[in-house]
Symmetry: C2
Subunit: 411 residues, 2 copies
């Protein structure tokens, strides 16, 4: 008998029939003798509907505290409905809101961090054989205000609960049947991974493989919560996210990630002096624009070019923000491109293998894909290419690193 | 400077524009220097939508605890939206859910009773100049479970809060501009009353004038909370509900109430022996059917007829429930009529005046309206007539007792 925390996302509880399906899925686990704690998101589309109402009624920025009260109502609806459906299948169940569980957070409305979870209320339910149906996404601060954890926060709720309860596994039940070596919509031969390490998952998640919220992966890694991504709708083991040790035969590269909707901005002829990077990026982040890759070449003649990428939707605003800065620091000019994409290879195996980068660059050169920017970390290499080459690059790399169905796992 | 509790119903906060209108209405009170505490219902249609979802997902009766969690989310949405709208008009505001206020109830889910209200959280807001926007309809029991007060419960929330805070007035802001001498849709000359006593209001409310929930009137009467019914959308003083003493010139009859959708059932040839009434009505109330008027005539030859009224929707079920009982007690038979209506005259003035009943019966006889049943209380006389005569009866009585616009108030 295991204690399993299961998280069901918005699509999994998207309508009443799906909620009934989830209840039956939970019943199958209970029938096998497992103890189950459930975390639920709002029904799909509901959080957006609520956010839109909040934005429409507000002249300026909606009040953050009230936005949390508003959006938290979405999870309140789904936990009540799922509890009803469970009771109908003969499973004792009880909805639990954040304040009823004791999911304590700080007071950063809209992006609160979990500080502590009380385990007593849920343990009591477990002892009484009751399935706790916990509202994801929401928390409560020390003054009793409702907070929310930000988009994808239900994943974090589930992982944090699993950590607090020392659960045997945390299942993220979603509309895909696992984590793939590349996006199956781009690459026909993409393969579901049996396992992937936390670090790889973290890179894959933050690089646009939107299966899991990066924060939840980080959390799971830190607290060593065995995390599994699997389908709500189909049977199958999904993908287990593990610590590195358990993967004996580590492939060189585990997966190919891509991110469309990127844009790059180059400030050229920048005086190569200390503090110049923050002079450029400071105002950009002050304008709440997220900067992703940053590349600065060694300067020539005291001047350098400074390039970074932003989300495409922020491109125009970022350029507008930079224009006065550009004048102030006497840079030569601003150029940009909003038709680029980022393609990355990810794998803990590349730590101990040289030549992975060369192999990647050769592969792309062979396909005549020009590389515009390069950025590397310990377990990933990202390149920026023209958007039109993105699919080609992903497919070529997927094949180059032997990730296709049927290929030997260890290179 | 007064402390005013204002309650806004579902129609008043029915869409985002109306919520903005309510915010401006509250601002006008604040600008005059009043302290305001607001109680809000769910947006119109929302509670029904949630109840329907709960009923649809449940095979049998939906779990009562979860139904409360589900429906309470409706008020959570409206308090957040109204707080946002208030902040946009420059009014400091804070949404308060039942557990944040401390609206403590018993554990009767779906029809909980308020046991206690903590005033500290709202007083703190008042001292800080913050308008508390309190979720109506909901409460929290001693174990931290969400409860709801039943339909119309927001009125009760508002009155209970006003009593606890010792407010100067409790305003029920709604889509009508006061309490009328009869339903203006039936009687053209119906007149808004300046004042009405709690007792009269209680009879009017329970007799089908659906302006105020009877429980809230009872509560207001008990705790002597000055209660005012007025329009959210139009200016005007509305109707003040007062204690009897303040009405010096008491009219004989204050208003004419009516209730459609009634049905009557007669069990005839019943042995006239002690305990027979409970033998008949016990099984009916066990079947959760509400019985309204009950009439039993003096028996002749040891037999009597026993007649009572129920809601029309419960008619068939009530008859089915009674058939075996009828056999068991050896009654002669059951007859019924589900096309009847109840018409009542209400007025504290009739306490001290004889002849009111005669005047009523004469009036109806003059219009050839046959009276099928009669039931009286200290301040009201109700008659059952065929449904087709209802409008005629209401209009004739309204005129007979001089309630029309321009008539002298005191008879």
């Amino acid at each position: 008998m295991s204690l399993i925390v299961q998280k069901y996302g918005g699509t999994s509880v998207g309508d009443l029939d799906r909620i009934k399906g989830v209840a039956l899925r939970i019943k199958r686990y209970k029938d096998k003798g497992h103890q189950v704690v459930v975390v639920v998101s709002a029904m799909s589309g509901e959080t957006n509907r609520l956010v839109t109402m909040g934005e429409e009624i507000s002249v300026g920025q909606p009040n953050a505290r009230e936005m949390d009260v508003l959006t938290a109502s979405g999870e309140q609806v789904s936990v009540a409905l799922l509890s009803m459906a469970l009771q109908d299948t003969g499973i004792a169940a009880k909805s639990m809101l954040a304040d009823q569980v004791g999911i304590k957070t700080n007071s950063s409305h809209g992006r609160a961090r979990i500080a502590e979870i009380e385990v007593e209320p849920i343990r009591k339910n477990l002892e009484a054989g009751i399935v706790s149906v916990v509202a994801g996404f929401q928390g409560v601060d020390s003054k009793g205000n409702i907070t929310t954890l930000g988009r994808g926060g239900s994943d974090t709720s589930a992982v944090a609960l699993a950590a607090a309860l020392e659960a045997d596994e945390c299942e993220i039940c979603t509309d895909v049947d696992g984590v793939y070596t590349a996006d199956p919509r781009l690459v026909d031969s993409a393969r579901r991974m049996e396992t992937v390490t936390f670090e790889e998952m973290l890179e894959l998640a933050s690089l646009g493989s939107k299966v899991l919220h990066p924060r939840s992966v980080e959390f799971a890694g830190r607290y060593q919560v065995p995390l599994r991504v699997l389908s709500t709708f189909e049977p199958g083991p999904g993908t287990l996210i593990t610590t590195e040790e358990s993967n004996m035969e580590q492939p060189l590269v585990s997966g190919i990630a891509h991110a469309r909707d990127e844009a790059k901005i180059t400030v050229s002829g920048v005086p190569d002096i200390p503090g110049i990077a923050s002079k450029i990026l400071g105002p950009v982040s002050d304008a709440d624009i997220e900067v992703d890759m940053i590349v600065q070449n060694t300067g020539v003649d005291g001047l350098t070019d400074f390039t970074f990428t932003v989300k495409r939707q922020d491109y125009a605003r970022a350029v507008a923000t930079l224009e006065p800065i550009c004048k102030a620091i006497k840079a030569a000019g601003i150029t940009g491109d909003n038709e680029i994409a980022k393609v990355s290879i990810v794998g803990v195996g590349m730590r101990s293998h040289a030549g992975v980068a060369t192999k990647m660059f050769d592969c792309l050169a062979h396909e005549n894909v020009n590389i515009q920017m390069i950025s590397t970390s310990e377990i990933k290499i990202s390149v920026v290419v023209a958007e039109k080459y993105m699919e080609l690059a992903v497919r070529a790399l997927h094949s180059e690193f032997g990730l296709q169905e049927g290929a030997s796992v260890a290179e």
